[in-house]
Symmetry: C2
């Protein structure tokens, strides 16, 4: 049988993490857009920070108890990072530059996001395992 209190705690952790992630993303985009930093570089930065933290989180697996780790995974991994990082806005920025005939910028956003995300995730993963 399902343990309702465990399910409620799990959902609460995901909900709390997702609200914090969305608020932080919203706040960063609002604050730095006023300072005239291009939105696609802000989204790039949010996404590579998320990748770094996810790499670090996955590497912590063996250092924590199963219960603590599974709750941290729900709160930070599924909730916070799933919500802080965004794929749709990343593709929107690629699309927006493409339709405005700035194709080289579109390709730069794709290449730097994939490479940056990969490298920062690797960095977090090795830091956590070190």
């Amino acid at each position: 049988m399902f343990d309702l209190s465990t399910i409620a705690i799990d959902l609460f952790l995901v909900a709390l993490g997702s609200i914090l992630g969305a608020f932080l993303r919203f706040e960063i985009l609002n604050t730095f857009n006023y300072k005239k930093i291009s939105k696609h570089w802000l989204i790039f930065t949010i996404n590579i920070i998320s990748c770094f933290l996810l790499g670090l989180l996955v590497a912590l697996d063996k250092r924590l108890t199963t219960l603590v780790y599974s709750q941290l995974l729900l709160f930070i991994g599924v909730g916070f990072l799933g919500s802080f990082s965004t794929f749709s806005s990343f593709i929107w920025e690629v699309f927006d530059h493409w339709k405005n005939d700035d194709k080289s910028q579109s390709l730069l956003i794709i290449a730097s996001s994939i490479l940056g995300g990969f490298v920062f995730l690797l960095f977090g993963y090795h830091l956590g395992n070190g």
Copy 2:
């Protein structure tokens, strides 16, 4: 001066959207993982659906009043889609296959996600403008 009630409504819309997005992503990953569908194809599907809906949402701009559109953008764009779609899990899947020496699968995940996201966003955008 800031209008606190407007800020509260904005934050409520982002929070509600982000919880719904995170719960739906969590539920899809849990449900279909049991059915042995690879996690990277589930994340791919979640991300391209998000791109389609974002394209559709952006195209609705001229059909709605400024207030309704700005609130819809906060609830669906910033909250729901920002939280439903995920960049960090996408890069994790690329990294995971790469470190397990399944490099062709890593490249396939990258190519299909970027191309799929772009095409589905374009599809949503043209459907909304049609």
